[in-house]
Assembly symmetry: C2
Homo-oligomer: 368 residues x 2
């Protein structure tokens, strides 16, 4: 049985992408070689890098004054590369604290210089995105997280500032229209809407790189990736190739406007059911609800294991909430078909009917 994969990442990819990737692992383009066996210096692979960059530029309307770079190590490595490149003793970096991964970014940055948390939603379990208007404009940069994968919130309005804005977009890049010019550096682990794990995307304004004036280890220096077209050393060949296939798929779907439309529809369907269903409630403030990661719980936590196994019996996987949050998290990434969301909604309704609202109200009165 093909599963309905709501996993938070590594996550669902379109079937056409995994089919083409599997074929390339066997024999790539009839070359008599697997994609795993080809040199990263071959003209064929250089064409893949170029095509992937062009697709990213086209899909996101990346201006020519920005570079598109491929790295490794995930967003967690960016948590240290950003301050290593742009923060130094005497300078201060501003951070928005909107959840688990923001906090990690903040901890890493403090190793390199002064860090100020300018706004935080820690007071309410990160269930919302705090507003922030910079009045000083004197930080080296402002760092934010556009989508909080674990907490299920998404930033639809950017903080207002004149300093460079650096954004972790790991879990919502390629899911909705953005204006790249609003940012000076965007980074994203690939394993949500871009491709398989093992690849990190960085889109950076060239002018920001010109500010760097210190010695940085080569593999942590954004300029090295720019100067070597992400081929300073062996890149994650297969992850880049599969990302290219996935971005081609996205283009075929009508690009980001079309997928955003779909993503809005999928999220609305699920949130509507969460709000309607007597058994469930959502964790994020409605205005800041993520379209990518929908977090919800049951009024009666004791029913959660039963719902999880009921959903699992219908082929739904990956909806267990993150261990520090509990409950459920349904990730609705680009490749998740609307039919999977419809099934989850149906399963929630069936579970509600099966349990019987009356019975629940009687048995678990205190909990509701």
């Amino acid at each position: 049985m093909k599963k309905h994969n709501f996993g938070a990442g590594p996550c669902i990819l379109p079937a056409s992408v995994t089919e083409r990737a599997a074929q390339a692992v066997l024999d790539w383009n009839g070359m008599g070689l697997s994609i795993l066996e080809i040199s990263h210096r071959s003209p064929e692979f250089e064409a893949v890098i170029l095509k992937t960059q062009l697709l990213i530029r086209e899909l996101l309307h990346v201006p020519d004054s920005y570079s598109v770079l491929f790295l490794q190590g995930g967003a967690s490595t960016q948590f240290n590369m950003v301050p290593m490149n742009f923060l130094k003793p005497g300078l201060r970096a501003d951070y928005l604290d909107t959840g688990y991964f923001s906090q990690k970014a903040i901890r890493e940055a403090s190793l390199f210089g002064k860090v100020r948390v300018v706004a935080s939603s820690a007071d309410k379990d990160y269930s919302y995105i705090p507003d922030y208007i910079d009045e000083k404009h004197d930080a080296a940069y402002l760092h934010c997280t556009s989508n909080n994968t674990i907490e299920g919130t998404e930033m639809f309005h950017l903080p207002e500032t004149k300093v460079p804005v650096i954004c972790d977009m790991s879990s919502d890049i390629f899911s909705r229209i953005i204006n790249v010019r609003d940012f000076d550096l965007i980074y994203a682990g690939a394993q949500k809407n871009m491709g398989p794990a093992g690849l990190t995307l960085v889109i950076v304004k060239n002018a920001l790189l010109e500010r760097i004036d210190k010695a940085i280890p080569a593999m942590s220096d954004y300029r090295v990736y720019k100067d070597h077209n992400s081929l300073y050393n062996t890149p994650p060949v297969f992850s880049i190739y599969t990302a290219m296939l996935n971005l081609l798929w996205l283009k075929d779907q009508g690009g980001i406007p079309a997928i955003e439309h779909q993503n809005k529809k999928k999220a609305a369907m699920l949130y509507q059911e969460i709000d309607r269903n007597a058994l469930f409630y959502g964790l994020a403030t409605p205005a800041h609800r993520s379209r990518m990661n929908v977090t919800f719980k049951m009024h009666d936590e004791g029913l959660e294991p039963a719902f999880l196994s009921f959903a699992s019996s219908r082929g739904i996987v990956g909806i267990k909430g993150y261990r520090t949050v509990g409950g459920f998290r349904a990730s609705l990434y680009n490749a998740l078909p609307i039919s999977s969301v419809a099934l989850l909604v149906e399963v929630m309704q069936e579970f509600e009917a099966e349990i019987g609202v009356g019975k629940i109200q009687a048995e678990y009165n205190m909990a509701i």
Copy 2:
């Protein structure tokens, strides 16, 4: 036509490995999910990590007092992680300079503290491995490169020292018997004898990690990988899985003693032909000739393009020498069958016969 892949890396993998990897990309173990879509926190993938570690421990006889870690970023990232963890102002690190990648390691280390190059073969184009006997034993560590992929030399005798020995084994790990106890830290990019690009193996003596007494960014801190069993953040899932398949293949071949026997045979066949054939000569000093990367040139460089295209017409790929060295480099990694080496030898002989030794001697007299 299936190619004979002599590429230096990413390089040849056994056909049974690429077949199983391709199947897992389509549907892994009948789970209804691609290996690219599964959570790195799933019990199924945790079993993969564990099995891969156990295979490495078994194949290399890694003592219990060492940790087996999976990282990203290739050996180039290790060039900075090693000094970031073990070197600090006031300490000195000793480096053996045996080629292009040693030099890169040395440059990175100098960002973190004092570096002394204790021996170098730069005087003779890195065609040999210098001997080194430490008389001071006062460095933080001694760094060496066991196989020089570009120059085609291999270190069969370790330098003598009482300080911790750290070794870049990217291009000969799993190709021959080593005694892990001779080293305090071994690192290797996976894309030669271990698996696809995008994965780095580190084997480190736990006692060495206990010496670290400074704050290090999480993703650069070996202790973080040890404490989180290489699951601090999303690892390169597919690369680890395929490495597991490849190590299973290696075990099936009879493990490292058996593959070393094969590798010796393959290298002997090719070096013998290089020494015999009037057109070619080897670049490395015979005692230090690499069994993994065989570097050679033609007495008449003008004939090299013709030989390259002749070999290519017979399905031989990946033998062009590194751009700074020129000539040819035939990489004979574990998965390269002896029949491919036999074919290369045959092609060299045919080319010699076709050109005609006499004709060459007449036409290119000065060059020979």
